[in-house]
Amino acid sequence: MNGDMPLPIIKLAGQKTGFDIGSEVIRRSGADFNSCLHCRCCASGCPFVDAMDYHPHGVIRLLQFKQTEQALSCATIWLCVGCHTCSMACPMAIDIAAIMDALRQIALENQVPAAEPGILGFHREVLNTVARYGRTHKLEIMLRYKVRTRDWFSDMDVGLKMLAKRKLDLMPSRVKNIAKIKHLFNGLWEGQSHAD
């Protein structure tokens, strides 16, 4: 898993910092993107490719050319859901989902503004309930997400139907030994004030 080395803050104004995005991604993901053939198998299988600004192999191209700023600020790294359809299609067995995880995490640690703040906000609400209860609490996630985005009415019909069908529990399901779980979340969001 990831090491504990803190990264230097990336100067996104184009200043050279000596930070090598490529080797950092390989260190974290264990995926050597240099073997990519750009055959586009990943893109043709990806269910979210239409919403992405760079196709999955396009992000790999950015890494090959050390385009740190574009790679960390693109929407693709946030839209990837980690379903591994791309990795299954890849003839070079590159773990593309792990590369996306690595880029997302490097972007967070270096306070690169997320291209999809709504998705980051949603992840935060999910993880906040896991930190509090040890398990997700969907009603709370959705309500807090609504507060965050101030978008009250979309999905309201589905939410009410799910409530009526008792698919949204009012009370969370909880882990008893919550101290152990809370310990795992210590310092998780440090230095990421921009993300709110």
Partner: protein
Amino acid sequence: MPTDATPSGGKQTDICYFPGCSLATSAKENNQSLINVFHRMGYNLVELPDWNCCGTSSAHSIHSDLAFDLASRNLSLVPPGKMLLAACPSCLLRLRHAQLHLKKSESARKHYQDMWDRPFDPDLSITHFFEFLVRRDFKPYLNGRQKPLTGIRFAPYYGCMLNRPPDMRHEKNYHGLMEKTLAALGAEPLRHVPPEPGAALQPQRQNPDAAFLGVVVAGDGRKKLLRMVCPASGRSAAHAEIKRAD
């Protein structure tokens, strides 16, 4: 809970079971039917004591170490010598991925031991319930008890269950499990439904997956069933159906 006697003379075998967040809450009917089916087969699904979130989607998106720790706490809770049965494909993948990492990495094992005060058990078997059903001849257990599925055509939807990262490519895969199980009960499989409508992104991007699943759900009007293994995509399908009905 069903109380009828099982073919094994009412003797129930306990199985350690990981429901996961979706099955415990928004897919609880899914959970209950699984518990009932296993009960009829003579197995008592006992929830993994004090289980936590498996570390999928949001956790591994934001912090890989956190996702690994969440999954490995669950592994550490399994009573020694027991197998672990999972129902959610994503939970299964996270748990198995953590186990694989622990098998490969000495430092991960040390971290695990320090964290959870017990040694890692490399022989722990983590099994999906479909795999468990297929490995056993379950039909004698169900004969005369279940409604026949004859005449029902179903679209198998595996979600991301068939996918895995390249470092797990030598592990077993799950192609055809649903076709095999439901066809044995008389149902007729339709074409394979493409994977992953992206349930994890549903609150932010409802259109792609709802539209995609809407096509599957609408179909040609014949009696049809969408059999899903993913509890989160079940929500997307319900969403698609609600949108269509409106």
